[in-house]
Amino acid sequence: MVDSIGPNHSNKQRGLRSSPYTNYAAAAVSGEEEGALKEQERLLPIANVGRIMKQILPPNAKISKEAKETMQECVSEFISFVTGEASDKCHREKRKTVNGDDICWALGSLGFDDYGDSLKRYLVRYRETEGERVANQNKAAAAAEAETRAGGVSPLHFGFDLMEKRRIN
């Protein structure tokens, strides 16, 4: 019995790993559909965007699909624009990783001062909570380590997990 793996895998895979091979696989995918999939990858989901728009408007307001699509495009452009500015700063300062402070700085630099200010506070709270979470994980890891020492599970396992969670490469 042979499992089908690799390029002939089902279309469900496409959502998980957007490698060129999964797209190439399904013979039914036309050029147009493929273009649409790539399009979706560079935009935030219309449902999420539409929801945020709706929440800020009066209850009887209606939003055309085109307006939501335009907003999707604008948000992606916003992300690129701000990221570019933040990335330039990192480059000038010879740093490799774009972090939250860089984003806040870039927002201020590009005229989005209000965003920058309230986001700095958001970031401080996030880091505090993250610090608590990591401290709790360390406690749990230490307890687990004591327990599993006899069982031969490597205590380093938790250490690597934490590193993985802190950094997206």
Partner: protein, 109 residues
């Protein structure tokens, strides 16, 4: 992908709500913005998810003002375009709203 799950658990614990925008997608868009963008800290997409919310809210409010000027209750893409033209900090969007191809015209949803 565990990363977004880890953050939601953290944040739904009280002070901060879950994110309304997918972190993985934000990260993808960030990476596409330039060759130089290689390493992104875990917190950057989280900051962006909030920033994008604020951005959408501001642009939507301004677009709505245009809609009201047309004495109607349905926002159209022209209202968004008009709001962009009117606002200095949205100058980077001028090219985009002047000739955005309409995806729904070219393919069936």
């Amino acid at each position: 992908m565990r990363q977004p799950g880890a953050y939601s658990n953290l944040l739904s614990g009280g002070k901060m709500g879950p994110h309304s925008l997918p972190l993985a997608r934000i990260k993808k868009i960030m990476k596409k913005s330039g060759e130089d963008v290689k390493m992104i800290s875990g917190e950057a997409p989280i900051v962006f998810s909030k920033a994008c919310e604020l951005f959408i809210e501001e642009l939507t409010k301004r677009a709505w003002a245009m809609t009201l000027q047309r004495k109607t209750r349905t926002m159209h893409k022209e209202d968004v375009a008009a709001a962009v033209m009117e606002t200095d900090i949205f100058d980077f969007l001028v090219g985009l709203v002047s000739h955005t191809p309409n995806p729904s015209a070219t393919l069936e949803s």
